[in-house]
């Protein structure tokens, strides 16, 4: 059992986790549940990007993509949360 088989098994498991999170995103009772599911999908996609880089042998390009994806996901989460919280506060 080489290391590539372990990477491939990890990739399949992460895709299964992302499908479970998609169930929460489509079903979620509140909009915050959907945002939470999208954040977890983003953090799982970072691992998937790094593993695809190791499998294809071009780690440098995929790592730069993973770094920018993590920073953009964090900024998007903060901005959307601030927007929703401000709207609810003014309504109350």
């Amino acid at each position: 059992m080489t290391i590539d088989n372990i990477f491939f098994a990890l990739l399949v498991g992460l895709v299964v986790l992302i499908i479970m999170m998609l169930f929460r995103v489509f079903k979620g009772p509140t909009v915050f549940d959907r945002l939470n599911g999208l954040g977890v999908i983003g953090t799982d996609a970072i691992i998937i990007l790094v593993i695809i880089g190791f499998l294809s042998g071009r780690e440098e390009m995929f790592l730069d993509i993973a770094i920018s994806y993590s920073i953009l996901g964090f900024i998007a989460s903060v901005v959307i949360a601030k927007y929703l919280g401000g709207k609810g506060e003014s309504k109350e």
Partner: protein, 101 residues
């Protein structure tokens, strides 16, 4: 070193799976954020540390450790700011007193 990397990968994937099951199964929004804030953060960080151990000592492993450190502080901040937004917009947590009323 490879054995240690595989151990870290298995531990990280276990914690990530626990976080996903918790987000699917917990009854309330705040408890679901509890699963997402702690288990998912540590799982992703351990998986990235395992990948860096597999790579060895180079610029690639330094970048992977940078992503791991960034997630270790960005993911709890995102979770906290989301819970704060939900609390400000008037979402009540699930308590036993409200259930019996």
């Amino acid at each position: 070193m490879k054995i240690l990397a595989v151990i870290f990968l298995a531990l990280g994937f276990f914690l990530t799976a626990v976080a996903a099951i918790g987000i699917l199964r917990f009854p309330d929004f705040y408890t679901r954020m509890h699963a997402s804030g702690k288990a998912d953060t540590l799982g992703v960080a351990l998986t990235l540390v395992g990948l860096a151990l597999y790579e060895g000592f180079s610029l690639t492993s330094f970048k992977i450790l940078f992503i791991s450190a960034f997630i270790m502080f960005a993911n709890p901040i995102g979770t906290h700011i989301l819970v704060r937004a939900a609390h400000q917009s008037g979402l009540k947590p699930l308590t036993k007193r409200r259930e019996s009323k």
